[in-house]
């Protein structure tokens, strides 16, 4: 048994889903955030006469005629469950402030339900906003006009198993039950039904929508509704102002990033301790042999891997928190329109903005967010450049390398760090421009000289600017938490697995050797590093640098801990460890007896880390999201080779100019 929620983007469908299931998914003010189907169990007694009642949240649609990939998902969800002949109820979710348009969708859903014998309920959201404009929606009249049951859903109503909507859903389920029994009782197995999709006449549906809306929305002095819209327009006068708009945009983005760095820093230490403390505790036990393979697998492999996942949770949570606040307030859609033009020039657009922004936290959720881009062309370009956005895993590496270059001079280090972020954006712009040129040329070649305009037309913006609203603190927090959770679920297993693999690669075959430096140097990974020494030499490195870079494929920040192992720095305290590591790095000599880490080789490493795609979780998601192994492989190869070439160029260039 299933309940399918269908509604326009921003209709409050996902809030309703959370309320009906008492959990999961997220709500937004930005179109198309529900890109997957979300399924949950109905709140309270989730069974209905023995079978489980599941609630399905579908991507927002403007009509039942699909125009983009995520809209196809919705139609498919409707038709597939109808095909399985399972008992179901369609809940049409309508925003009370947009009835003149959204009632057209309700009409279509009603017709689809009638044709297939599926009951339809209408849930009206945002009634409080209408009320604040001194208007009211006559739900009874609406119910009569649509000839379906209509239920008003208060916006701030908490999850509640006895709410009017849940009661209505249960009633409808009862009703379908009796019908189902009388029709197909001879067959215990549900028979495959052929689904009927009726003809939709959007013009007639829209006309009907307006007629019904004018009938049921009453009260309010003339212009009271426009008072509500006037507030949004007044804010937009500044938020989208020719000069102030872009300034506000930069201020908002800069504050989010500073929050991500300053606020997250102390929390990151706590999260690291979460796995370091148990590891230390195990090593301190008298019955534990600290040098046995099993102990090391547990502490250096598993617990260290878990720590690698956990350490980014604070940053990613804060970035998501910022994004959700911007979405729910309505600003994010405006920000997307501000950057649409510049992004369009490099083959992207306003819809790519949020995915790119998320890329600064982590490329994995960012790539998932590209599903709201309806043009395949634009989506591929976005997928390609997302790993160039400096994700939070690069930060510990930057921190170590910048501390080496500018020890004691925090201001310079900070400025250079900002410069690195700027550099990553510039590289992203170049990559996007080049890739879209290549893709466009390819497309032109295929179709035989289609013009540039034809290619552009395929990507559309058509972004809805919702009314400004004050985000609800509890909801925002909950949503940011859910998104962070899904990040951990998606990247966690991969990082953990690689962390164990790299632990094994750096431990075997000489796992009996007591001296850790020896063990590492002669391990499989150490041998690989040595084998590849000629590759790393032009970058100003040797096998140790190479080993660090190879281990960074688990997660970039593993570079730092590998360096610590290589240089045998085992200080307990975090700050002492960095100090110890830095002095060891300063003393490190290569085969020729010259300093291994010099300003030029560190600069080369920084450039490498900005560009290289060293994250296998990202690679895995790129395969899935682009739907093409070839694309993901090319991305992996191109970005890493570009990183290598540029790093070598920087090192050799600096040395040619006399920088050691």
């Amino acid at each position: 048994m299933s309940i399918i929620l269908v509604g326009s983007p921003n209709s409050g469908k996902t809030t309703l889903f959370n309320r009906l299931t008492g959990m999961s998914a997220k709500t937004v003010n930005y179109p198309g955030s529900t890109v997957d189907l979300h399924r949950g169990k109905l709140i309270g007694d989730s069974s209905h006469h023995g079978s489980v009642v599941s609630v399905i949240d579908t991507p927002g649609v403007y009509s039942l005629v699909p125009r983009s990939p995520d809209e196809v998902v919705t139609l498919r969800a409707l038709t597939e469950s109808a095909e399985q002949a399972a008992k179901q109820v369609i809940v049409a979710v309508l925003d009370a402030t947009q009835l003149s348009r959204q009632l057209a969708l309700a009409n279509q859903l009603k017709r689809f339900g009638d044709a297939n014998g599926i009951p339809v309920l209408v849930a009206i959201t945002m009634l409080d906003i209408v009320k604040s404009a001194n208007e009211s929606v006559d739900l009874q009249a609406l119910s009569k006009e649509l000839s379906v049951k209509v239920i008003g859903v208060p916006w701030n109503e908490a999850a509640h198993p006895e709410s009017a909507l849940v009661a209505a859903i249960r009633l409808e389920l009862d009703a379908t039950e009796s019908v189902g029994l009388s029709v197909g009782e001879s067959n215990t197995k549900p028979q495959e039904k052929s689904v009927i999709v009726p003809e939709f006449n959007i013009i007639a549906d829209l006309r009907e929508a307006k007629r019904i809306k004018d009938l049921v929305v009453t009260g309010g002095s003339i212009g009271s509704r426009s008072h509500l819209r006037m507030r949004t327009r007044k804010i937009d006068r500044w938020a989208l102002h020719t000069y102030l708009g872009p300034i506000l945009f930069f201020v908002v983005m800069a504050s989010i990033f500073s929050l991500v760095f300053w606020v997250a820093a102390p929390f990151m230490e706590y999260f690291e301790l979460l796995f370091k403390l148990p590891s230390d505790w195990i090593l301190a036990q008298s019955w534990v042999d600290p040098d046995s393979v099993m102990t090391r697998l547990l502490t250096d492999g598993i617990l260290a891997g878990l720590g690698a996942v956990a350490v980014f949770v604070p940053q990613i949570f804060i970035l998501f928190l910022g994004l959700v606040i911007l979405e729910d307030s309505g600003y994010l859609a405006r920000a997307a329109t501000i950057v649409d033009q510049p992004l369009k020039k490099i083959g992207l657009g306003g819809r790519s903005f949020v995915p790119l922004l998320s890329g600064f936290a982590c490329a994995v959720p960012a790539m998932l967010a590209t599903r709201t881009i309806n043009s395949r062309f634009e989506r591929l370009v976005a997928l390609f450049v997302i790993p160039l956005m400096s994700c939070s895993a690069r930060l510990p590496v930057y921190a170590l390398l910048l501390a080496f270059l500018f020890s004691g001079n925090a201001l310079t280090a900070g400025l250079v760090l900002a410069g690195l972020y700027f550099f990553s954006v510039v590289m992203g712009v170049i990559a996007a421009a080049v890739l879209s040129m290549i893709l466009r040329r390819k497309a032109n070649g295929k179709v035989g000289g289609k013009s540039e305009d034809d290619m552009n037309e395929k990507s559309f913006l058509l972004l809805e600017l919702p009314l400004y609203r004050l985000p609800k603190f509890r909801m925002v927090f909950h949503q940011a938490w859910l998104r962070t959770g899904s990040y951990v679920k998606r990247t966690g297993p991969m990082i953990l697995l690689l962390s164990i693999l790299i632990w094994a690669g750096t431990t075997f075959p000489h796992h009996q050797t007591q001296d850790p430096v020896d063990r590492l140097e002669n391990s499989y990974a150490g041998q690989l590093g040595k084998y590849m020494t000629p590759v790393f030499e032009p970058m100003g490195g040797d096998w140790r640098t190479g080993l660090g870079l190879i281990s960074a494929f688990a997660a970039r920040e593993v570079f730092v801990s590998t360096m610590a192992v290589i240089f045998h720095v085992t200080d307990e305290d975090e700050s002492q460890m960095q100090e110890g590591l830095l002095s060891e790095m300063r003393n490190a000599k290569n085969q020729d007896g010259q300093a291994l880490f010099t300003p030029s080789s560190i600069a080369g490493l920084l450039v490498f880390f900005v560009i290289a795609l060293q994250c296998l979780s990202t690679f895995a998601v790129a395969i899935k999201e682009s739907g093409s192994l070839g694309f993901a492989l090319r991305q992996l190869v191109v970005l890493n080779i570009a990183a290598y070439v540029l790093a070598v160029a920087v090192v050799q260039g600096l040395r040619a100019f006399g920088v050691s």
Binding site: V72, K458, F460, P466
Partner: protein, 127 residues
């Protein structure tokens, strides 16, 4: 009514071909493409936020790019529909249009399919 598979394919490929009644309005001659209208409005001093400009959709070119124009139609851009032009993004594009209680940002590529006019006076009521 058809069987589902054929219909879904048909719908996905062709979009929803609207049964457009032949237009007989005196404003048809005065219809301008929305992107041209915007360009002109922008040159002649833009649009003041307190005085959004009200226009009417005269027609939409549903034959080109059915995916996008179909979406425009779903959103309410249909012949005779009153719309409000609220202004432009800081860089001049996209243009902000209110249609059916919804504010949308339209690029030139989207706006060019919409023909607008200052007035709407159908000679024959299409109802």
């Amino acid at each position: 009514m058809h069987r589902f598979q054929g219909r879904l394919l048909d719908v996905m490929i062709n979009g929803n071909a609207p049964d457009q009644a032949p237009l007989k309005t005196k404003s048809l001659a005065a219809a301008v493409r929305l992107d041209e209208w915007s360009a002109r409005a922008r040159v002649s001093g833009g649009i003041h936020p307190d005085e959004p400009r009200s226009l009417f959709v005269v027609s939409v070119d549903f034959s080109s790019d059915p995916q996008m124009t179909g979406r425009l139609g779903d959103l309410g851009f249909q012949p005779g529909e009153p719309i409000l032009i609220l202004g432009f993004a800081p860089l001049g594009e996209p243009v902000f249009v209110e249609v059916r209680e919804t504010v949308l940002a339209l690029r030139v590529e989207e706006a060019r399919h919409i023909f607008v006019s200052d007035e709407w006076a159908p000679l024959k009521d299409s109802r």
